[in-house]
Amino acid sequence: MNRECPECGAALPESAPDAPCAACLMKLGMKSWQDAAQERNVPPTQSYESTVVPPSIEDLARIFPQLEIVRLVGQGGMGAVFQAVQKSLDRTVALKLIHINTADNRAFADRFIREAKALAKLSHPNIVTVYDFGHTDDYYYFLMEYVDGTNLRHLLQTGKMDPASALAIVPHVCDALQYAHDHGIVHRDIKPENILVDKKGVVKIADFGLAKLVNQGPAHRPLTRTNHVMGTMHYMAPEQIEKPLSVDHRADIYSLGVVIYEMLTGELPIGRFARPSQKVKLDVRLDEVVLHALEKEPELRFQQMSQVKSEMESIQSTPPNMAFGEAADHLGHHPRGRVPPVQPVRHSMARQSPMPASSLVAAPPKPGVATLPAVEPTGFFGVAFAPQTWLNVVYLLLSFPLGVFYFVFLTTGFSTGIGLLFVWVGIFVLLGTLLGVRGAMWFERELASNLLGLHLSDLRFRRESPGVWDRVKNLFADAQSWKGVAYLFLKFPLGILSFVAVVTLLATSVSCLGAVVVYQIPWAEVFFSIGPWKIDTFAEALPFSVLGVILLFVSLHVLNGLTWIHKQMAVGLLQRRTTT
């Protein structure tokens, strides 16, 4: 029988079941671990471990006679958590002790009481309920609902929850945070450790507002050692670090964005981070949600948690929107052509009813959307130069000279009398041009995404459109729209190319139709004499004509389609500001 590592779930060799788990050893080298170690790396003599010693269970029993202290559950930078039983009600509770060196400071005590009262008013199925609070000589404490389960960090690390199903908990987190925000409470420390999942699979957010309390204690200015000990800088919104006093609920939206990013990619979005879909294969619309939540400026983010939730839910409920060939690559992995971004969340799971535990815990890793190996971005501007890409570049380069060549032919051809050549050259040039348009579309898309950070997922095709005036108004509203304007300017090369294509099409059609018409006109016969070849009969000309007409219609439709897509892209881009 194979034993498994309790930490990461890897199989342990039978010959040495007690040896350290190799996979866990490997994890010690990972950057995330090393970075975390750096952050935790306060000199040991000064660390909380040596300065904050949690009181013994006996001491606690004396301080809290109404409780039966069961065990120390956990210990962190802010203090310690004990499991206890409230004797009067015979219910299991969690006792959270917060070590503050400023217990004698009246102002802090007042603020603590004020905050705690606000926290205690929060009553939501996805928020850990506060039963009581107060302070002793050395500690402030909360008596809270005891969550029998584990946290999201642990679930992700141990591989008990694959990233895709982890996403299913996001709407619940949004619910809880929206509720708290409606009550004027910002969490300020959203991270996987604070997202608990009990044994029934119910999501519970813990430690509301504690970060604020602790950080604003008189002896703990922001960015002091306390922050290091808390070690969650990576989840903080930029304004939490730069302007801690102006933090509002949108900081939580940013932090949740970090959590979602981490769930999808296994990495933190640090520096110039890649879109999630560049790291793992997934519905590109998830990119939009994550990047929108991670906007540096609070004004540009989602403004409400409920928006994050509805975006996530609309992604779940509609087929993926992957455009321009990407879809074909991605769809292959999924029957019925759907890429489920998250585990389907049944309506009954919302709010009160617990999520089925099976969907959360011990779900076997699936070869799903978010678990496929990452694609490493290479090439210049992050454009990956796969063979297909080179083909596109060749198309692009070829199409211009061909177009010009044909244009010249068109204008000189009639006078030199080599009309039939139009038909042939026209057909080839037409194909070349269409391919060129395709190449240009591709190139433009790559440029837009790599230089401007615009993604097709931003350019949602929407049926219902706002008024023209709204669009124009919003066009100039913010930086995102200016990106849009820049994007439109990028289209100019494509516009020129399209013009050449249209002229080419016209020429082709004129040539082909001309073959018919001109045949009826004796003096124009010269158009159909090319060296030894002559088209003498209508029957000889007919195939060319038919072919030309068919090509004309097909091409016009294709061009029409391309134009439509471009228009939709532009409209969708401009709409984005009006709908969010």
Partner: protein, 224 residues
């Protein structure tokens, strides 16, 4: 990466070093391809001989990236050639460049339960294990250098996982240290392990950026 830098003696030594560490993954790969123990040992030996003899490291320029992939591709090539020729391996002038204990290798191979996988996976997994062994050895040597062998002996078991409650105190008593001192040592040991691991991997990939990809790949291989 130092193994592919130039034709200097140092780089040759580096390569030999790497080969010594990583011959078993290659052996496992060959075995997994269906060779018996004897033939696999022969092939692996011959491969290293040819690798060192022909100065193949010149081909391994920086841009080419991972040493691991390079070795895997090379041995695949080598095996194809060898099997085609069906000749005994005479290369290396009879000099054993890397010492392979064929009997030990066979038992090590037979004892590992996860050999029900593709040769490539077996190779990656064995590669990861060999790498960890090497890191462990380096770490042990570092402790020994400071005269702290016993610390390594008692505490290296704590590199992974959560210790049972009271375990640190117990270990502290063995070592004559306080519980918190043990915690600190274990913590630093973990950190140092990670650093050495990254250093080792840095020798086998082209750029700093690839280290994390490599770790992730190896981690996945170990997770199975």
């Amino acid at each position: 990466m130092s193994a592919g830098n130039a034709d200097s003696p140092a780089s040759r030594e580096a390569l030999e070093n790497l080969c010594t560490t990583y011959w078993f993954p290659l052996y496992a790969f060959v075995r997994r391809q269906g060779m018996d123990a004897h033939r696999a040992a022969d092939l692996t030996q011959g491969f290293f001989a040819s690798l060192l003899e022909r100065d193949d490291l010149a081909k391994l320029d920086q841009a080419r990236g991972k040493f691991r992939s390079f070795l895997l591709a090379s041995i695949k090539n080598y095996m194809l050639n060898e099997i085609d020729r069906e000749n005994a391996i005479k290369r290396g002038g009879g000099v054993t460049i890397v010492s392979i204990d064929a009997r030990l290798a066979d038992s090590r191979y037979s004892n590992d339960p996860v050999f029900s996988q593709t040769p490539e996976r077996v190779f990656d997994r064995q590669w990861a294990l060999a790498l960890l062994d090497r890191v462990r050895a380096t770490l042990r040597a570092e402790f020994a250098e400071r005269g702290k062998d016993d610390q390594f002996k008692y505490l290296s078991g704590c590199l992974t996982g959560q210790p049972a409650s009271g375990r640190y105190r117990q270990l502290g008593q063995e070592l004559g240290l306080s519980e918190s001192a043990v915690k600190v040592i274990v913590y630093r040991m973990k950190q140092r392990f990670g650093e050495i691991l990254r250093d080792e991997i840095a020798h086998t990939v082209a750029s700093e950026a690839e280290i994390d990809t490599e770790i992730q790949t190896l981690f996945n291989a170990l997770r199975g």
